[in-house]
C-alpha cells in the first residue's frame, strides 16, 4: 500500500511539474496559483487567499497587477517591500503555524499561509 501510494504521489508530482512547465512556456502567470507554493496578487487580491505548505517549504508571491503590492506579515516575521508588476518575493517557513499577512499599500488585501 505504502509503495503504491508513493508511486501515485510521484506520478501526481510529475503531472504537476509538467503542467507548470507548460504554463510557464505559455507565459500565463495566473496559472502559477495552481502551484502549491505560489501565490499571485491579481486585481487587488491574493490568490489563493489561504495556502497550506509543509514546514521548511518556501512560498513565492508574484504581483501581476500594474499597481505595486507588498507581502507584509501581521506579526512582522516577513516583509517583501514594494513588489512592482511581475516582481516576486519568496519566504521560507521554518515553523508550523498560521501566518496572516496583508498588502501594506492596500490593507484590505489579506491572506494567510498555513504551515504544517
Amino acid at each position: 500500500m505504502l509503495t503504491k501510494n508513493f508511486g501515485r504521489n510521484l506520478i501526481n508530482a510529475f503531472a504537476v511539474t509538467a503542467m507548470l512547465a507548460t504554463t510557464s512556456a505559455a507565459g500565463t502567470g495566473a496559472a502559477m496559483a495552481q502551484d502549491a507554493n505560489a501565490v499571485v496578487m491579481k486585481n487587488f487580491d491574493f490568490a489563493p487567499m489561504s495556502i497550506t505548505v509543509k514546514v521548511g517549504s518556501s512560498v513565492t508571491w508574484k504581483n501581476l497587477d500594474g499597481e505595486p503590492h507588498t507581502v507584509t506579515s501581521v506579526d512582522g516575521l516577513f516583509r517583501s517591500g514594494a513588489l512592482d508588476q511581475n516582481d516576486t518575493f519568496t519566504f521560507k517557513f521554518e515553523k508550523p503555524g498560521t501566518y496572516k499577512y496583508l498588502c501594506s499599500i492596500h490593507p484590505r488585501m489579506m491572506a494567510s499561509v498555513v504551515v504544517q
Partner: protein
C-alpha cells in the same frame, strides 16, 4: 450668507478662466463652503484682488516618483511641469506641503529624484508626511532617514506659520482590520495634547495622506479612527483638512471642518468603485494633464477663512 456670494463670484470667475485654457481650479473656502475657480486666476494680476493676497502654502501630493507604467510613463516630467507652473505664479506661497506618496516603491533613488526635482521649487520650505508607498520598506528607513527629523521619527508633528497652526498626521502605518488607515492611540493622544489650550479662533490646517473621512471603504479610502481626531478639531472656527491618496478631488464640509483631497502630479485613479481597485487610470494623453495638479491655500480674514485653489497642468 456673504460667504455664499463670495463663493458664487468665484465660481463665475472659474468658468471664465477655464474658458481661457483651464490651467486649473481654485477652491474658495469661506465660512466652510468651497467653490472652484480656475488656477489661472491665481496667476493673473487682473484678478489678483479677488485673491486679496498671497497663498499661504502649496499642497503637492502623490508624485509617485518611480512609477513608469502606461498611465504616465514620465512622472518626473509631470512633476517638473507642476514645479515650473508653481514657479511662474506671481504670488508665491510661503511653504509647500507634500501629502505623501512622494515615491512609488520607497526606493532610495526614487527619493533622490523627488528631492532633486522638488528642490527646483522657488518655495524653499517643504513639509512632508509619508504615504503608504513611501514606507513599504518599513519604519525607520528611506523616508525617515530623509524626513524623519521634523517628528523625531514619529512621522507626525505640528508647527505654526503666520498665525496658522499646521498639524501633520500619519494614517498609513496602523491599518485597521477593515483596510482603512488609522492614526493609532499614541498619535491621537498627541493630537489632543497639541490642540489643548489653543484658542478656538486659531486657524487649523491638518494634513494626512489618506482621506480623513470614509469616501469608499471597499478600497480603504478612509481613516478608521478619524472621528476621534475630528472631535478634537470641531471646536475650532476654521479647520482645513488636506489629504491625498485618491488622486482626485473629493471634498466634504462638516461644521467648521472642510475636508479636501488633492490631485496627484503623477496619474489619475478611477472614481470610487469603478473597476477592480484603486490602481492607475489610463486616460487619453490629451486628458492626462487635466487630471494632474496641485492645490494652493490662502487663509485670511476675521474670522479666518481658507481659499483653496486646485490647479491642473492642462
Amino acid at each position: 450668507m456673504s460667504s455664499d456670494s463670495e463663493v458664487n463670484q468665484s465660481r463665475r470667475g472659474a468658468l471664465k478662466c477655464l474658458a481661457f485654457g483651464g490651467a486649473g481650479t481654485l477652491f474658495l473656502l469661506s465660512g466652510g463652503v468651497l467653490a472652484p475657480i480656475d488656477l489661472a486666476l491665481a496667476a493673473s494680476k487682473k484678478s489678483a484682488h479677488a485673491m486679496t493676497g498671497t497663498p499661504l502654502f502649496l499642497q503637492i501630493s502623490d508624485t509617485h516618483i518611480g512609477f513608469n507604467k502606461e498611465a504616465n510613463p514620465d512622472v518626473a516630467g509631470t512633476l517638473k511641469q507642476t514645479i515650473d507652473f508653481v514657479n511662474a505664479m506671481p504670488a508665491k506661497p510661503a511653504l509647500t506641503i507634500h501629502t505623501g506618496d512622494i515615491t512609488h516603491l520607497s526606493k532610495a533613488e526614487e527619493f533622490d529624484t523627488a528631492s532633486q526635482l522638488l528642490s527646483g521649487l522657488n518655495i524653499t520650505e517643504l513639509h512632508t508626511i509619508p504615504g503608504e508607498h513611501d514606507i513599504t520598506d518599513g519604519i525607520g528607513t528611506e523616508y525617515f532617514n530623509r524626513f524623519g527629523q521634523a517628528s523625531a521619527n514619529k512621522g507626525y508633528y505640528s508647527f505654526d506659520h503666520n498665525g496658522v497652526h499646521f498639524i501633520a498626521l500619519v494614517n498609513v502605518m496602523n491599518f485597521k482590520p477593515n483596510g482603512l488607515g488609522a492614526f493609532g492611540d499614541d498619535q491621537l493622544a498627541w493630537l489632543e495634547q497639541d490642540l489643548k489650550g489653543r484658542s478656538s479662533s486659531t486657524p487649523i490646517v491638518v494634513f494626512a495622506h489618506m482621506p480623513m473621512w470614509t469616501i469608499y471603504e471597499p478600497w480603504g479610502w478612509g481613516t478608521g479612527d478619524a472621528d476621534q481626531a475630528t472631535s478634537y478639531l470641531s471646536r475650532f472656527g476654521s479647520v482645513t483638512v488636506l489629504n491625498g491618496h485618491i488622486h482626485q478631488i473629493v471634498q466634504k464640509v462638516e461644521g467648521n471642518i472642510t475636508f479636501h483631497t488633492a490631485r496627484s502630479t503623477a496619474y489619475p485613479q478611477p472614481t470610487a468603485g469603478d473597476g477592480p481597485g484603486p490602481g492607475p487610470l489610463k486616460v487619453p494623453s490629451d486628458r492626462l494633464a487635466k487630471m494632474l495638479g496641485v492645490t494652493s491655500v490662502k487663509i485670511s480674514g476675521h474670522p479666518s477663512s481658507a481659499v483653496l485653489t486646485d490647479t491642473t497642468l492642462g
